[in-house]
Symmetry: C2
Amino acid sequence: MRTQKPPDIVIRRLVLYLRTLENLETTDKEEVISSYALSHLAGVSATQLRKDLAWFGEFGKQGVGYNIETLREEIREALNLDGNYPTGLIGAGGLGMALARYSIRRYRDESAYPFQLVAMFDNDPAKVGGTIDGVPIFDVRELAEKIQTLGLQIVIISVPAAAAQDIANACVAAGIRAMLSFAPVKLTVPAGVRVHYADLGLDLGHLVYYL
Amino acid sequence: MRTQKPPDIVIRRLVLYLRTLENLETTDKEEVISSYALSHLAGVSATQLRKDLAWFGEFGKQGVGYNIETLREEIREALNLDGNYPTGLIGAGGLGMALARYSIRRYRDESAYPFQLVAMFDNDPAKVGGTIDGVPIFDVRELAEKIQTLGLQIVIISVPAAAAQDIANACVAAGIRAMLSFAPVKLTVPAGVRVHYADLGLDLGHLVYYL
DNA sequence: TAGATTGTTAATCGATTAACAATC
DNA sequence: TAGATTGTTAATCGATTAACAATC
């Protein structure tokens, strides 16, 4: 046996399936869905969907399909999305501000996603002490302290590229193990810490090749 | 011979190598870099870097390495990044506004990237007619017309999920072949049209699994 | 039962890595 | 030349797809 753990790419698709299921329920009243129908909505093959689910268990009934509500709950559980994840955002510049407003509105009242933006950080004295939609902006020098006292589990990094590695180091030192970075640089972190990159420049550059 | 065209994933890494090279030149005065050194900075293996480059030609010298300036130009050319790509942004809500400000500042004066945000679109009469950092906001009903008259080649979609498919359809009908979507839905487009998804929710969901 | 669809095995496909001859 | 590093081939690894027995 070579691989006991589901590959990274499977996890990503599971999140996609979950969202697809959640969109479904609001518009559709069927209780059951086939792997074919669900996979089509998610944009993958039916075989791939079934294989991905098989990493976590057997959730369907032969000849019938998957109960939508049950499958939704099973995936949420498999992905740990039933937890509660206080999130911090570092860098309240133009992009950071917008991401904050966006994610606050999107996730605060939607129980489907357990991310709560509870703190922002910046080094601009004019911003420190203020709030955005009720979320306080702290001085970035308080980062380590607030990570601990507020129990932050995820940080979103939207500082300039030159500052990103220092910020990442500080987060890791304070115990953060999951980061989403909008800074266009590779961040070096210890094993066990996950970084996802959201990189507009890379996306645009990639698109151009095919024009 | 099975594959004549470089895979998608290779293109993405080439963009990454290019950026890595551009960051290099501002800080480092060496004229030459080895595949080992460059690949390390980019976060890939030296073998992979050399194999990726081999899709486009032979740019190095055995025993020496790659001339930084030359390699930079070769990659820019291979990726069509020497062109000029007028870009439109649809949906001037909170996220759209921020993306606009961010990308205007980042790309307008940086000759390294040939993206220019030249138009925004919204359906809010209060916004239509205004400008953001000099970029006009048009009524979304003028979308098709402006795509043609302004020669837009890339659109960034930051409208609500429910509206995204309609917008994508309109763009495709007007001749757009490259889109970057921030809406959390799968967009169905004809073959030959590329869509990239920038999806905060998927990224965050994915991160949580490993906590 | 008969039809439908799952869960899973085996085959295929593609991407990464290791190794090294070519050569600057 | 001798040392270093590329370009490339062959081997490995992992992911996707096809096919089908199990079974609701």
